[in-house]
Subunit: 274 residues, 2 copies
Amino acid sequence: MHARTVFFVSDGTGITAETFGKAILAQFDIQFRFIRLPFIDTVDKAHQAVRQINHSGEIQGKRPIVFTTLVNTEVLEVIQKHCKGMLLDMFSTFVNPLEQELGVKSHHRVGRFSNVSRSREYAARIEAINYSLAHDDGQSNQDLADADVILVGVSRSGKTPTSLYLAMQYGIKAANYPLIPEDFERRQLPKALLPYRKKIFGLSIQPERLAEVRNERRPNSKYASLENCRYEVAEAEALMRREGIRWLSTTTKSIEEIATTILQEMQLERPAFS
Amino acid sequence: MHARTVFFVSDGTGITAETFGKAILAQFDIQFRFIRLPFIDTVDKAHQAVRQINHSGEIQGKRPIVFTTLVNTEVLEVIQKHCKGMLLDMFSTFVNPLEQELGVKSHHRVGRFSNVSRSREYAARIEAINYSLAHDDGQSNQDLADADVILVGVSRSGKTPTSLYLAMQYGIKAANYPLIPEDFERRQLPKALLPYRKKIFGLSIQPERLAEVRNERRPNSKYASLENCRYEVAEAEALMRREGIRWLSTTTKSIEEIATTILQEMQLERPAFS
């Protein structure tokens, strides 16, 4: 049986529609084929999209599922009138009741839907990405006072992807610092971090999982051995416990879950930022 | 007047609900205050969330707007029964018609909604992030054959954030390489890139905007001067034109828009990947 085809049609990037639609469809044990149609912002492009969607439906003998986030009314009308797929209009479904609740009309302004390019928020994201890159893996002790959070943990515990995600998604300046055998012998945090104890958050991981991850990088090394991973993780956790540092285990968590937990625990959400 | 309070209530991270909800609300010229309530996955936590939401409504004298992506039926019922906010149920609104269309019931399995941690897709994302970091700013010529795309452009044209976004969001291995005055004098692409011409995509930028961005980093330097920015951009564009490299201007585009355009132009979307 063919996988059912799913289109995400947007006058912006369609990333929001895609992320949301995939999350919904992950609730079904069915194979889907996903096609994103971004920047559908003219009546002409709408007709092209309709042709592609209808053609796909004819070939497969099953009507495609079509998630739309179209702000432009004319474009939406073309889709509504001609598209033979199952339409799930993510925009109007919520905008119309919100207009009633708020007592004002929405802009219907394209582009505002998926992102806000030249804004202050955007500049802060770019700055945070540069900061997190420059402070990855203990590369720099400079400007640690500017960090919103400093992640610590053994090598391959998930610090780098989490730092970059916090920067990219939330504009949070996240430095990260490895905990290494030298620190365990000194039984102390890296010296550069001592003034910033309150900003530190730890990542830990099950030694078995850590050995798997490290073995992909350096097979059969001492670094990747289960024995060494057990040693490092036990020492790192003991160190964090002694220093009163909050930490979580990343073993079964996604980057998004780790980041969300850190935001909560460190109270880093910035309402003013939105 | 107080900003209207908006809650995002999820049994996962709530990131999808938040991204989508903010995009919808950006259509209104109203100030909002956003509060994300993640990991609401028990009846107890649901009651706590309801208390917080109702309390906020009482203080403000306006009912809060509550976006939910709750997969757990019991949790959802608590919210539906007791919450005095305006409920926008992003889950059931689309899952119910999809169950009808697809002729199967959804799992209602928590956690599947916002992400899939231990999957192959997830491992590919982590690998891509490591790859893109190691190949940022021409740091390494090794393994360029493994790159899905190689971004080129003058310093500060947007290569780094775009590479990291492609890796993080799509598991795409994106290397990036600066175009520098030396390349312009030789009138050639950096040598290491010559075998991979088909993977190259260029980023350009308006000289005026580039000078602004560079001045933030190195005020009053030759590097940041408008004259030098004009020279570099003109040379880079001429080089790309001569070499037949596709490029776009990042001047008014967000990272998401740049990434989406690159995916389209390079046909990098991987349906099998979803």
